[in-house]
Symmetry: D2
Subunit: 183 residues, 4 copies
């Protein structure tokens, strides 16, 4: 129930793996007057999936935030919307690490309804720490290295993942060239 | 008041033009427990700016939707988060057409606080029409060509625009380091 | 896992029943810069709980909406915020019918974290049907009676329910008199 | 442009005053699949109006939050939904102080489209301060008195205000019938 029904078929001819899959039900709050899910909300669904995956790895984001250890921040998002979702739909959002650096981690995240791919995403996140105010600067957030105890637990990145938005476009024969990826 | 204070400085060495700029004030609803604006919300701010720009061009989206003429749908979004915004900030969101086809239009959209660039975005939109249910298919949305009366009014795309997220990263000398600090 | 841990203790000295309980996890999207859940979001959580409960009763809201049968609309909401929720919290939202009329149904809905009551709510909903445009009026929504097939399945209202916001205030010894309920 | 067009007519036979009025434009993000504004979003619009009004009084909420002085929290909300708003609508949200205590302040807030009253609200807010963690308790929020410098600036409460939801219902002759039609 927490994974697309036919992953092998869905990812035909490509690698089919992911590190986590999370179910998301669509409610009125998620839809807009077009009768479909408001496109901005898929970033929320992908965030929920990453959060649940981090929880399974033993990480407590609220604890890290309140203790001052720091928190993840999102640095880049790329989403390609292929099919709309609607009220009452049950979706599945996948999480796959595709790049793992000391300053940032990149995820491939797809949104599925059964074996229909709705949205392909790439999300890159970094790490920040809260900095107390000084005489000359106000309190703020300072980018930093992702804590070693987190990096140590993250899985090996998948070498090639189907959810590269531009690859998806080619696979689907889209003639409207997608914008280039930033990396 | 509806434009970055120093556009020429902000876009140093690049083209500085846009077709529209829209002010956005940050309220509690826009922030998250990190003390900054939730990154998914910038898609809303960019939507508001496009909507206000369409209004200045004479288009009534609700009228088009209810009359059955159709509506815009978002096909691709790419956002690069450079600096966070906070409660009470007054931002400006720019709109520039960078590609204008019969099936889709692409926008460069940036978010500024004064002359500080916070977020760079690329948004590609298409057009759909509502399709009534038939004996064999249920009601749905069918991609179509953007109505000629809309294309006729859209301005010439800007040849080169600063808000290409990947270009922004190079220009700022970013080395895969998310820069989320307010200072 | 889908009910407060100690309902009997929680509702000490009052009726303890509800018709449904639904778990809600708190994500970044739900919080604000105060470090707690944005108060407006509890209306979403209560909506999710009512939707899941309707689903268990066999109702398909999207199907009813698209077929033209109609949809529920919210007519009144009263919420009393007793304790804040935070990132990563696992909450439970209860649903109890407390009034069942042909024009509207009233629910008592509470939000719990374990056996701590966070929010008490009263939600009254009605029913509307879509009306096609005529020569003199535009398309709209017309209030109507709740379909008999729905009323027939709704359970008997609970005679006295703990979640009347004003009762909650008295029980907790609050000296800041809550505003009167509209009914 | 920042006030209902016919306040005297709108509030016929009652007091017509408010302390502030704030315009709100409806965007796609605000609507749901019912084709109307999602009811939970009116709490956001009322928050925006209170925030803009506080700004006119000279208060900087982000500054108070970051300096540790404290922040407002919402304690009670009561909303009665009389008519729906739709995409592209320009609304006006009023703010009137109706009760002013040391522990809480109560507002009457109405949402108008032209001279049509859409939503009546009562919002009661309190004040909290952040409390640092100690050896035995974790960091949290402690309810406190509203700072004297704020109370000193708040206007006299309006003795009788039209936006009491229950009064609104009686005045409009509502017989427990949700009135969600646009006509």
């Amino acid at each position: 129930m927490t994974a697309p029904e036919h992953p092998s078929r869905a990812a035909e001819g490509t690698t089919s793996a992911w590190h986590h899959s999370h179910p998301v039900r669509i409610y009125w709050e998620d839809t807009d007057a077009g009768g479909i899910v408001f496109y901005g909300n898929y970033l929320k669904f992908m965030e929920r999936a990453r959060t649940e995956w981090l929880r399974t790895l033993g990480f407590d984001q609220e604890g890290m935030r309140r203790s001052g250890e720091g928190m993840f921040v999102v640095a880049d998002t790329q989403l390609r919307y292929l099919q709309p979702a609607r009220l009452d739909d049950l979706l599945h959002v996948t999480v796959a690490v595709v790049e793992r650096g000391r300053a940032s981690v990149e995820f491939a995240q797809d949104v599925w309804r059964g074996d229909t791919l709705l949205v392909r995403g790439r999300i890159r996140i970094g790490w920040v720490q809260s900095v107390a105010a000084t005489e000359t600067t106000e309190a703020g957030l300072r980018p930093g290295r992702i804590p070693q105890r987190i990096l140590a637990v993250l899985p090996e990145p998948l070498a090639e993942h189907p959810s590269k938005p531009s690859a998806a476009a080619q696979a689907s024969g889209a003639q409207d060239t997608p914008t280039a990826t930033p990396a």
